[in-house]
């Protein structure tokens, strides 16, 4: 498996000096290396073989996803969300990640991947709880098999490895798909997670969305590698490079990696080349660090436009379908807006719940203190309200 086979196997013993005895390369690096250019399907001959059902389903998801992003950003302007990191432009990655998984599989999203959780079926309001600010995680991760959206970059990757490993130990054919950004690949946790996954042959798929920036920092300041997918060989797993704006290509590569993982073939690193069309978050001003014409160049490679072209060419984009898709997305957005306009129910005593399985005496004391303060506040208020 690795350069040194332990224990005691030997190379060309006797013919000294030769390669060190017991040394033998075991893995052929060639199949682990990514292609020189990103894999794509749209615009190639392979596109003709794509299942129409898949294409239209991807399309519905992409349109809905973009509308979701727009709505969430709008909610920040209305003060209904504290912040929103949009994935507009990256919808093909988000949607493909969700669709590549079976129900029993687990998704490990990063903070930008709300859309992937929604595409996987999570209630949008629950998905946005973190960013609305009424609690940290708005859903039960075990119920949905979606880990909490991870804010500390790359820290979710070892979790995915551990979970996938545990599932395999338990005999469950569960796969974990973990998402991270190009910037996140620089973190030590990225390295440690990929290494553990390869050594354990854990059923994990690592999806790097290389959108060219980590906030303001361009990829050239993040890595000098030929591609991020070239990191894979250093762990002994295959690295795949994909056009992240080509939805069927993304879907195919991820589905294939998930299948391989499920069948015991071990982890895969997938690098999706994509672009964040909007600012880092609503609070960011992207004009400080990138030129408008770069953004325009990428708009020309929009994932929805690419897919529409294919659908259209194959007669799969009738007007009614487009309208129905847009209407459904509008309906989702309207419902989201309405539901987010309702103030969430808040219970300050939640602060002291779930810190430990059993509340400590210290926390009970502190809860008592807050309860008294709130009572005093309420009393004050009713006194004030009673005044003319």
């Amino acid at each position: 498996m690795t350069v040194l086979e332990q224990p005691g196997s030997s190379g060309n013993k006797g013919t000294l000096p030769g390669p060190p005895p017991a040394w033998r390369p075991h893995v052929d690096p060639a199949p682990l290396l990514p292609d020189a250019t990103p894999y794509r399907v749209l615009g190639t001959d392979a596109a003709a073989r794509l299942d129409p059902g898949l294409l239209t389903s991807l399309y519905v998801h992409l349109v809905r996803g973009r509308r979701f992003n727009a709505q969430a950003t709008a909610l920040t302007r209305q003060g209904r969300l504290a912040v929103y990191p949009s994935s507009t432009g990256q919808e093909a990655c988000e949607v493909a990640a969700a669709l590549a998984l079976e129900d029993r599989d687990w998704l490990f999203p990063s903070y930008r991947d709300t859309l992937a959780t929604v595409a996987r079926g999570l209630d949008p309001v629950q998905a946005l709880t973190l960013l609305r600010g009424d609690w940290h995680t708005g859903y039960d991760p075990r119920e949905h098999r979606i880990a909490p959206l991870s804010t500390p970059l790359a820290t979710q990757l070892p979790h995915a490895v551990g979970l996938a490993h545990a599932a395999r130990l338990k005999g469950d054919d569960v796969v974990a798909l973990a998402m991270v950004g190009d910037g996140g690949t620089s973190e030590g946790d990225f390295h440690e997670a990929l290494n553990f996954a390869a050594v354990w042959q854990a059923p994990v798929v690592f999806l790097v969305q290389n959108n060219g920036f980590a906030i303001s920092v361009p990829l050239a300041k993040q890595t000098a590698a030929p591609s991020l997918a070239h990191k894979a060989v250093g762990y002994g797993m295959p690295g795949r490079l994909v056009d992240g704006n080509d939805a069927p290509a993304m879907h195919e590569v991820l589905t294939e990696a998930v299948r391989r993982a499920r069948e015991g073939g071990g982890p895969t690193l997938v690098e999706a080349i994509t672009y964040r069309l909007e600012a880092h978050t609503n609070a960011d001003d992207a004009t400080r660090y990138r030129a408008a014409d770069e953004v325009e160049t990428w708009r020309a490679h929009d994932p929805i436009a690419l897919l529409e072209r294919e659908l259209d060419a194959r007669g799969l984009l009738p007007g009614e379908f487009v309208t129905a898709t847009r209407d459904a997305a509008e309906e989702m957005a309207a419902s989201l807006r309405d539901r987010m306009n309702a103030d969430p129910e808040l219970d300050p005593m939640d602060l002291f719940r779930h810190v430990y399985a059993e509340q400590t005496s210290q926390l009970a004391e502190q809860a008592e203190q807050l309860r008294a303060e709130l009572a005093a506040e309420a009393a004050d208020q009713s006194v004030q309200e009673a005044r003319p």
Partner: protein
């Protein structure tokens, strides 16, 4: 906000973030060995704009956008310091300094000592800390207890615009590593200020009495200073004249100023946003008590964040020490003859 230093030259309103920016600029201009580095500190000028304009003025080599890896940033800064540079590292948020914890605890804090002084670490690590800005999880930790418990580090935190400038200049000039904690909710607090104020470099290790008083001492720092000053104003209505001490440096600790104050007032409350249990308040209360025991009319009490993970934005106001909670605690300093024990009794 009261400061102990009287202004002489032209002053105008400035935000703390601007004063910090000016401190970096002046330090870089004065000393070519000062290098600023971190995530987004270059082109963007930092997510809080504290490094705004520095890359343009001094070039990418003096103000560098690094790869996104905090241990790597701090570790590289250690190597740069070994070669005689004076790195100023920015950690983007409090919780994002944790990946660098090993470099901090095992190298930054110990290098001078390990090498009998041969390799000093004139590093400044700027960390925006604390809550109150509606940040999502992992963006509002008050992590000062970790740094306090690490000998070899200086731990400094400004609470005023003037100190933001003065202490940052002092931190960069220090031949020891300084964890420089910037109260992020005070970034946009403004005060009349000019870098030409006398004594612009505030000394590390010296607390400031921000409000003199006679009845009890509020001991605080960083984001809780304005809250304590407000509490002290409101306390006048209750007939209490509170002294407010801004520690400014947690390490080294200014025992002299604090001890003298509490011996005078006979009562003290420590106020900070960090979790109470295991937080800085324990150390402060313990050492004040060791030194002032027979002057104390009541135990030194603490007002701190609850012993919980930092709450989500919509609940954070309940967690943060506010004026009422401070006044309630002051009220428990056994002003009358009712000599019952403190909380938990």
């Amino acid at each position: 906000m009261t400061t102990t230093t009287a202004p002489t030259t032209a002053r105008k309103p400035a935000a703390m973030a601007q004063a910090l920016n000016r401190a970096l600029r002046d330090a870089m201009a004065a000393d070519p060995s000062v290098h600023v580095m971190g995530e987004d500190v270059g082109t963007l000028g930092g997510v809080f704009r504290v490094t705004d304009g520095l890359a343009k003025e001094f070039g990418d080599d003096r103000c560098t956008d690094t790869p996104l890896a905090e241990a790597g940033i701090l570790g590289a800064a250690v190597g740069m310091a070994m070669y005689g540079l004076r790195p100023v590292v920015e950690m983007q948020f409090d919780a994002f300094a944790y990946p660098a914890f090993e470099q901090l605890a095992s190298h930054v804090a110990k290098m001078r000592n390990r090498t009998r002084g041969a390799l000093p670490m004139p590093l400044t690590i700027r960390i925006p800390y604390g809550g109150g800005i509606g940040g999502v999880e992992h963006h509002s930790d008050s992590s000062e207890a970790y740094y306090l418990a690490t000998p070899g580090l200086q731990v400094v935190t400004p609470a005023t615009v003037g100190d933001a400038y003065g202490l940052l200049r002092a931190a960069i000039a220090s031949d020891d590593p300084v964890v420089f904690l910037e109260p992020k909710r005070l970034y946009w607090s403004r005060a009349d200020w000019s870098p030409d104020d006398p004594e612009p470099v505030a000394p590390i290790g010296r607390a400031a009495i921000r409000r003199p008083g006679t009845d009890a001492t509020l001991i605080t720092y960083g984001p809780s200073l304005p809250v304590c000053l407000e509490a002290a104003e409101e306390a006048r209505a209750e007939g209490w004249d509170l002294e407010v001490i801004d520690l400014r440096s947690l390490t080294p600790f200014d025992d002299e100023t604090v001890t003298a104050s509490v011996r005078r007032t006979g009562r003290a409350v420590v106020v900070h946003e960090s979790n109470g249990f295991g937080g800085p308040g324990g150390e402060i209360a313990a050492r004040v008590t060791e030194r002032c025991f027979h002057h104390l009319e009541a135990p030194v009490l603490r007002v701190a964040g609850f012993d919980i993970p930092y709450p989500p934005p919509m609940l954070e106001r309940h967690h943060l020490p506010g004026v009422d909670r401070i006044l309630d605690t002051v009220a428990r300093l056994q002003w009358e003859s009712d000599r019952t024990e403190g909380r938990g009794d």
